[in-house]
């Protein structure tokens, strides 16, 4: 019973924190410089990991799917099938999870450490609203950068797919691109891209919430980072489940 109560309290607090992000964002005196710095850090910090995993995923998926499609005699459809799987689901979710692990934990640990060492208090004493300076900019940065990272990751995945395809067979690049874009529609690209904004918001908000509310003590810094990854990853799957239901209801599947 106490677990249910603490879960409900935590959910309520997190929702209130997210609502405060919305309330604080439009106020005058937005920290543009800090937002740009965070966008650079967030993108730069996760691009090598996102890129390498995307490449591997694209190649592995192609190599593993090929025998199955070969047995049905539809090997020529391989580029489109892999591209559809990557763009619709694997790209956004895998990138979101890696982003949560890399960026979400980093934000949780950074803000947690700042909280524990009184840097957030020092910021407030220096005439800065720490919520606007630290939280709003980071949440905005993750919300804006994850969709960009997903687009880049999709492109790298398809490069992996092209190389994987040419290990056992021979496909030219123009034919590969034509095979993908012949069938790819607006409904394959747009809804997955929209959901990545929510994934990014969720990673930033959870990371900031866990770090900002770290209790005193160095132990809580590690705890904040760990919880930020676990909660954000879980929320990404939940949001994905909601997104697929919504797109299905809207007839976009």
């Amino acid at each position: 019973m106490s677990n249910i109560r603490s879960f409900a309290t935590e959910t309520g607090e997190l929702s209130r924190f997210a609502a405060r992000v919305f309330a604080e964002t439009p106020k005058p005196g937005f920290e543009w410089r800090e937002l740009l710095r965070q966008c650079y850090l967030v993108g730069n910090r996760s691009l090598p990991l996102v890129g390498s995993t995307a490449f591997i995923m694209g190649m592995v998926l192609t190599i593993q799917l090929r025998p199955a499609l070969l047995s049905y005699g539809v090997e020529s459809e391989l580029p489109y099938i892999v591209a559809d799987a990557i763009i619709r689901e694997i790209g956004p979710v895998i990138t979101g999870l890696i982003f949560a692990g890399k960026v979400g934990s980093g934000i949780g640990a950074e803000l947690g450490s700042m909280q524990v060492t009184e840097q957030i208090d020092a910021m407030e004493v220096s005439g800065t609203n720490p919520f606007r300076y630290l939280v709003v900019t980071r949440v905005m940065a993750t919300t804006l950068m994850l969709p960009l990272l997903v687009v880049v990751a999709d492109a790298i995945s398809l490069t992996g797919c092209f190389i994987g395809l040419n290990i056992r067979s021979v496909t030219s690049l123009p034919l590969f691109i034509d095979d993908i874009f012949r069938y790819l529609e607006f409904r394959d690209v747009f809804p997955p891209l929209v959901k990545t904004f929510f994934f990014g918001f969720c990673v930033g908000t959870v990371g900031c919430y866990k770090g900002y509310n770290a209790t005193k003590g160095t132990e809580s810094v590690g705890k904040s980072a760990n919880e930020a990854v676990v909660v954000a990853s879980m929320l990404i799957f939940l949001l994905d489940l909601v997104a697929v239901q919504v797109t299905d209801l809207l007839g976009l599947n």
Binding site: T117, E118, Q119, D121, S126, G127
Partner: protein, 227 residues
């Protein structure tokens, strides 16, 4: 909790605290606390660890809200003030944190410039640089201007934190006990006293060591486990 407060000078109080109450849950930390800090006065609040000295100082700077009572800083009641007005009061107060609270991701220069930029003080880059170098010169660490806090020793970090409190000028300077570090250039505990003679200020510190409290012009003892 009873507090002795010998009034030395009735002219121009810089900080005036009346009947301050603050409790965390059922635990009363401040129970009817009264205190007056006068202009150019150096005051030490003495008390055991956990007796509420830090809580008191955080109330003065508006980081904690008291349950009741009034705290006037430079004539403004910080317990009942608009956020913008509170920022203006804070711009005139130097606050030295127990843990230094230097920003890890910024160089020493950026750490010192931060309060200048954030309080929207209109300064040219040359003026800002001169103020930073002067503050660093006052604590004998001008050569550390481009270093990161992680590259400094504990004592140096303490001095840089002190330099940061000197930047927004001319107000009271509440701080926690400076600590035991003995960096190159002398004892860190002497720095506030040297500065007190060099730059006249009103200073208030919380300490659990009676010996250190005696260095102040006036002492306010805190009795009990908390309060």
């Amino acid at each position: 909790m009873k507090v002795r407060d010998k009034t030395y000078d009735l002219n121009e109080p810089v900080i005036r605290i009346r009947d301050l109450h603050l409790a965390f849950g059922t635990h009363k930390v401040l129970d009817g606390f009264d205190l007056t800090l006068h202009k150019r006065e150096d005051l030490a609040v003495l008390g055991k660890s956990g007796s509420g000295k830090s809580v008191l100082i955080k109330c003065i700077i508006g980081l904690l809200q008291p349950d009741s009572g009034s705290i006037e800083v430079l004539g403004n009641d910080v317990s009942d003030i608009e956020h913008h007005a509170l920022d203006q009061v804070r711009a005139r107060v130097g606050f030295l944190f127990q843990s230094n609270a230097l920003y890890d991701s910024m160089t020493v220069r950026e750490n010192l410039e931060f309060p200048l930029r954030r309080h929207w003080i209109q300064l040219t880059p040359e003026e800002s640089e001169a103020m930073v170098m002067e503050a660093l010169g006052n604590v004998g660490l001008a050569e550390t201007v481009d270093l990161m806090p992680s590259e400094l020793s504990g004592g140096m970090r303490k001095r840089i934190a002190l330099a940061r409190t000197l930047i927004p000028d001319h107000g009271p300077r509440p701080h926690h006990e400076p600590g035991d570090q003995r960096p190159h250039g002398g004892d860190i505990r002497e720095v506030p006293h040297q500065l007190h003679h060099h730059i006249p200020r009103h200073e208030m510190r919380g300490t659990n060591l009676r010996k250190r409290g005696r260095a102040a012009q006036r002492q306010v003892p805190r009795h009990g486990d908390r309060g």
